[in-house]
């Protein structure tokens, strides 16, 4: 039981990561894609912790999820403004 629990946890993280990565790439809504990217970054940080790399986890959470997410949200906001005259495809 004690052996199977971490294994279960790790495979859950790995599968969720793959699934979110696929969702991020395949969704048509840019805003949703950015949100999924941030979730991906946070889960990735969790994966780094499980791989005993807390330094990478900190960097991933702060830079990968936080700042990149903010930059991408900003970019999505800028992309939306000029498109207002014409309907989006």
């Amino acid at each position: 039981m004690n052996d199977i629990l971490p294994w279960l946890y790790d495979s859950l993280i790995a599968l969720t990561l793959l699934w979110i990565a696929w969702q991020t790439l395949s969704t048509r809504d840019l805003f949703k894609a950015v949100l999924l990217f941030i979730v991906f970054g946070l889960l990735m940080a969790l994966a780094w912790v499980r791989l005993q790399a807390p330094d990478l986890a900190l960097a991933e959470a702060a830079i990968g999820a936080g700042l990149t997410g903010a930059l991408l949200l900003d970019a999505v906001g800028h992309l939306r403004v000029p498109r207002r005259p014409g309907p989006r495809k």
Partner: protein, 243 residues
């Protein structure tokens, strides 16, 4: 047709990455049965980097192996990293400046956001300081601390407390440059004492690394915020804006 081709290429790349990962010597911290079996077989071929770092840790000036590698044993990589960041932000500032950006009107923050910023920003500065200090003996360090500082800056910017001044002022430029400059001066400075480039004398290594990390933290925070804001205000005005 194209999609199939791209999918095949992606699969091929994923396979190659997986194969490359499988070839890594497995003496990190992964405890699987297969791994320990493999370790027994290939132990002779492995250059045990973690063991090498652990053996020389007391000469590095810090007690955390990752910081020792990043700021001492492989400090050249970190020096180039901060150089690349500096170049990136120079590019952004140049482009934004040339494009004469439209004046930005950040919306006034709501009461909840304003209260949150009041609570969170001092806490984030504190966390950044802690991460910087903790880097000497546990996970942490300049990049993480700088990123948290930058997060505080982004929060201030989003709540309209950090105005965008168009020409980056002297203090901002100095702040952007500080980390790289201090790193470079120390890297070259130790060569005057007869050491190699970036080979700190063992007694002063801790102090030198702390000086480098502190200035790196400030610069990385400023650089990341500048990437977000584009043409941000110099720090002296940032203080006034948050009265």
């Amino acid at each position: 047709m194209t999609r199939t081709l791209i999918a095949l290429l992606c699969l091929g790349l994923a396979g190659m990455l997986g194969w490359a990962l499988w070839q890594l010597p497995g003496d990190v911290g992964l405890k699987s049965d297969l791994q320990s079996e493999l370790q027994g077989q290939v132990q002779a071929d492995i250059v045990g980097l973690p063991a090498l770092v652990a053996a020389h840790l007391d000469q590095s000036g810090v007690r955390h192996p990752v910081t020792a590698v990043l700021l001492n044993f492989r400090a050249y990589d970190t020096l180039l990293e901060i150089g690349v960041l500096l170049l990136a932000v120079l590019g952004v500032l140049a482009v934004r400046h040339a494009a004469a950006p439209e004046p930005v009107h950040p919306q006034r923050a709501g009461a909840v956001l304003a209260a949150l910023v009041h609570l969170a920003v001092p806490l984030m500065v504190l966390v950044a300081g802690y991460l910087l200090w903790a880097g000497a003996h546990q996970p942490g360090g300049a990049f993480q601390a700088g990123a948290v500082l930058a997060g505080a800056g982004v929060l201030l910017r989003l709540s309209g407390r950090l105005p965008a001044l168009l020409p980056p002022g002297f203090w901002l430029r100095a702040g952007l440059l500080l980390g790289f400059a201090v790193f470079l001066v120390i890297a070259l400075g130790v060569t005057r004492g007869g050491h190699e480039l970036l080979a700190y004398p063992v007694q002063q290594a801790g102090g030198l690394i702390l000086a480098i990390e502190a200035s790196l933290t400030l610069s990385i925070g400023l650089i990341l915020v500048s990437l977000f804001v584009g043409a941000p205000s110099p720090p002296e005005h940032g203080g006034e804006a948050s009265e």
